[in-house]
């Protein structure tokens, strides 16, 4: 049983972590938490199933096309729901505007794709049992994404510009960084990361329109635990959440695992409102 808990926990955790990173990627350049994060991951699964199973495309082509479409949807989100409300960030209108876009995505998927979970194809076919690819694939995808992001942030100019904007938006703009373009790129990047999460987790979660709302919540929990914008916190939080949830699932049953996650979420927020790895609040008066 321990092996099952570990395998399914790490797999689910890796998906949550990736959704968490999706949130953070959008947050870092815009200070906006977007409800589309979970929907992007949902679309990763739906597009993947559509292209590779329904339309029978080659794996690589289907994967690339999925990521491209997710990136486009990320950029559309930026144009439609983020940019218009950035001026009055303190009114938190982004909660509503991104929710609206997320609902549109979900509704269109429900109508065009169907409300039943649909299968996701086997991608590689290595391993069985607890070593089944549906368990290790998300973990590998998560690890690769982290490494790629680390490379991006540490070794490339664009990545450093991201960091600069996340650190101090005004100073970065004063230095002449193209803040708007970087924001668009970051939303495209978030789309890609969400797409990777959904694609790699497709066999585990299936191609199902309701995954969006589910992943919105389960992906946000690690962000809340780890502190907004903190990728390391999101990864640790995501994996911990996956293990916690699956352990509860195996030990006390399915209903109570979601209750346990919800309770954990509320308790941590009350005890450490800024997250376990987060920074303290800004000046108020």
């Amino acid at each position: 049983m321990l092996a099952s808990i570990l395998a399914s926990g790490l797999a689910a955790g890796a998906i949550y972590a990736l959704v968490g990173v999706t949130y953070n990627t959008m947050f870092s350049t815009s200070r906006v938490m977007s409800f589309t994060a979970g929907q992007l991951a949902m679309l990763g699964g739906v597009f993947g199933s559509l292209f590779t199973l329904k339309l029978g495309m080659p794996l690589i082509a289907g994967f690339a096309l999925t990521l491209m479409l997710c990136a486009i949807i990320g950029v559309i989100t930026e144009y439609v729901a983020v940019r218009p409300v950035l001026k009055s960030l303190d009114q938190h209108l982004y909660v509503l505007s991104t929710l609206a876009v997320a609902l549109m995505i979900q509704q269109v998927t429900a109508i065009k794709w169907g409300t039943e979970p649909q299968p996701f194809p086997k991608l590689i076919g290595w391993g069985s049992g607890v070593w089944d690819e549906k368990f290790w694939l998300p973990v590998v995808a998560c690890a690769v994404t982290i490494l790629a992001l680390e490379y991006l942030y540490r070794r490339t100019l664009v990545g450093r510009a991201f960091l600069a904007i996340a650190e101090d938006n005004f100073a970065a703009r004063a230095l002449g960084l193209p803040e708007r373009n970087l924001r668009i790129i970051s939303y495209a990047l978030a789309g890609v990361i969400g797409g990777v999460a959904g694609f790699s987790g497709g066999e585990l979660l299936l191609a199902f329109f309701a995954n969006g709302a589910l992943l919105n919540f389960y992906g946000f929990v690690p962000v809340a635990l780890g502190g907004l914008g903190n990728n390391r916190g999101a990864i640790i939080g995501g994996l911990a959440l996956g293990l916690f949830q699956q352990a509860a699932n195996f030990l006390v049953g399915g209903i109570f695992s979601s209750v346990a996650v919800f309770t954990l979420f509320i308790v941590v927020l009350l005890m450490a409102p800024q997250g376990l790895f987060g920074a303290s609040t800004a000046r108020r008066v």
């Binding site: 938190h92 509503l96 505007s97 109508i111 589910l214 809340a224 209903i255 209750v259 927020l269 009350l270």
Partner: protein, 599 residues
């Protein structure tokens, strides 16, 4: 108070006349609801009942979303909770079967409890977190309803409660739901117009100022979450009866979206707007049957449009009064003499003593062992270069920062460090460097915020508009009007505060602070942005405040003002006292002149 109190009967008549235009639309909606049985068929009974049930939930949720500004997007979960609780209790598959009129209040209690649990994150964190916790709750309630088959019937479902005669016919049940909806409208309007409703709006738009007037966020919010949860659960019980049979599928997220968007279409801080929003959104799919599948998509589009194009919603459209232009040449003409009739005079009183206050931000010592005495009735100027710790000192006194060392003593009681909410009760009021007023509320309401801790009625009394609450309201409003006259803004009492000029906001803040009848008034750069005439009037006002025995601590950059009105001046530099003395001594103090005044 004698000068304030007008003839109560005349006051009542005037209030009733002023209330009519507000009540008329509600009366019209109610009339339409009462006429419906004579002109509609059973199908309309169904639609009408559904509307009424949704409104029972939305009227509570409106206080959370519209008034308190917390974005609760998953309230369908509480609807489901109420529906299942009522159905299970009436069916008796867990406990002995209960009559439906007993089960419904029980469900209300369960709903109230979970309303608070879901709301807990909102006590410490805003917006996205609370939205997420309600969303998460919605997800798990559906999962539990599906999985807990022995109680909820799982995916097969459970039959809803049946109401006894005469409520078991379509129109009988309609009448019951309309009656409950009318009642919830009344109580939510009562809360909205009471000091509790104002406190919610204050916490939403000017949280820091709300704390300074003694409004406790947890208390205000928990009361509202209890109410909203209870109303949602009652709506759930009625909903289950209307459906006759409930499964988890009946509680889709689309419903949540409908509730939520009805409020936003209606407009924040309004009761009528969300009510019309609920009616419109319930009818809309009936007129466009082919679009039924796309209804959520349409709601989402509507939501985006509202956010981007019309953030005020229906309420802003209907608010004709606030579109009339204001006189552009208006002047603030304070009548400081009238203060005597409003503020109690103080003889002796308590002194405020600071000893050895120290506070660092990282490696920067913002305040470095500061001693400060403010005597009752003394106007004490606090000046110094930028970054010398003036505002920080005010923030330490009013509790926004907890000093790392030193003591603060007021009279003979020590002031606890931190805890800004308790300062109002200690008799310390303040204004802010950037005026913190509620733009969407009227000037009068903004001033009335200052009287929040003055109320004697409990939340339940406010809910039912009992006499004690009505007295509170009358008293607070009269005092606020009187103080607006003192600061010279009574002509603007009914105007939305965000339409005022910057200088007027500064005077509103002073009136709000005086509502507390404080022993000490902390003014943070009250003259910033004022014209010379206005500064002169401000000076008169501050002197009159001091003359009532109120100690005034004044942070200011206008040296002329300071030297004109202060009894005593403390000069800060780098968090330390550079000099202290009478204005005459300070004006010629060598270090002060070279470090700050120039010359």
């Amino acid at each position: 108070m004698t000068a304030v109190a007008t003839d109560p009967p005349r006051d009542d008549i005037r209030a009733a006349q002023a209330a009519w235009p507000h009540l008329l639309p509600f009366a019209a909606v109610l009339a339409a609801a009462l006429v419906l049985p004579w002109i509609g068929n059973d199908y309309w009974a169904l639609i009408g009942t559904r509307m009424a049930i949704y409104w029972v939930l939305v009227s509570g949720l409106n206080l959370v979303v519209g008034f308190a500004g917390h974005l609760a997007i998953g309230y369908v979960a509480l609807l489901a909770l109420g529906a299942y609780t009522t159905s299970v209790l009436v069916a008796g598959n867990v406990l002995p079967a209960l009559p439906v009129f007993v089960a419904l209040p029980v469900a209300a209690c369960v709903g109230a409890l979970f309303g608070v649990i879901v709301g807990l994150p909102a006590l410490r964190l805003r917006t996205f977190y609370f939205a997420m916790s309600t969303l998460g709750f919605a997800t798990i309630v559906t999962q539990i309803a599906l999985a807990w088959q022995s109680v909820t019937g799982g995916g097969i479902g459970i039959s809803g409660p049946e109401f006894p005669a005469p409520f078991n016919t379509a129109w009988g049940f309609y009448a019951l739901c309309i009656a409950i909806a009318a009642f919830t409208t009344w109580i939510s309007a009562n809360v909205g117009r009471s000091r509790f409703g104002r406190a919610l709006i204050a916490l939403r738009d000017a949280e820091v100022a709300a704390e300074a007037t003694g409004i406790s966020k947890p208390r205000a919010l928990i009361a509202i979450f209890l109410l909203a949860g209870a109303l949602a659960a009652v709506a759930g019980g009625l909903f289950a009866s209307l459906q006759t049979y409930i499964t988890p599928d009946a509680f889709t997220f689309d419903l949540s979206v409908l509730f939520f968007i009805a409020i936003l279409i209606g407009g924040r801080g309004s009761i009528l707007g969300p009510m019309l929003g609920t009616i419109i959104l319930t009818i809309l799919p009936e007129f466009a049957a082919p679009l039924a599948a796309w209804s959520t998509f349409l709601y989402a589009v509507l939501l985006l449009l509202i956010v981007l194009v019309m953030p005020g919603g229906i309420a802003a459209l209907m608010d004709v009064r606030n579109r009339r232009p204001l006189a552009s040449n208006r002047a603030i003409l304070p009548r400081a003499a009238a203060l005597a009739g409003i503020m109690r005079g103080r003889a002796g009183g308590r002194a405020l003593r600071l000893r050895g206050i120290a506070l660092s931000f990282g490696n920067v010592r913002a305040i470095d062992g500061l001693d400060l005495d403010v005597a009752p009735g003394q106007i004490h100027g606090l000046i110094g270069p930028n970054g010398s710790g003036k505002t920080t000192t005010l923030n330490v006194i009013s509790g926004y920062y907890a000093a790392k060392g030193g003591t603060m003593i007021l009279g003979d009681e020590a002031l606890a460090p931190g805890e800004p909410v308790r300062r109002a009760a200690s008799g310390i009021a303040r204004t802010f460097q950037t005026p913190r007023v509620i733009g969407e509320a009227s000037v009068l309401e903004n001033v009335m915020i200052g009287g929040s801790i003055d109320g004697t009625a409990s939340f339940v009394e406010a809910l039912l508009a009992l006499p004690r609450n009505r007295n509170d309201e009358r008293r607070i409003a009269a005092k606020a009007r009187a103080l607006l006259a003192v600061v010279g803004l009574e002509a603007l009492a009914e105007v939305r505060a965000d339409r005022l000029q910057h200088s007027e906001l500064r005077f509103i803040e002073i009136a709000r602070a005086l509502m507390l009848d404080p022993d000490f008034l902390l003014l943070d750069e009250p003259a910033a942005g004022l014209s010379n005439d206005e500064i002169a009037r401000l000076a008169e006002l501050i002197k009159a405040i001091g003359a009532r025995g109120i100690g005034v601590l004044l942070v200011e950059h206008h040296a002329d003002l300071i030297f004109e009105i202060c009894d005593y001046v403390t000069v800060l530099n780098l968090g330390r006292t550079l000099a202290a003395g009478t204005p005459a001594e300070i004006r010629i103090h060598k270090e002060v002149v070279s470090a700050y005044l120039g010359g």
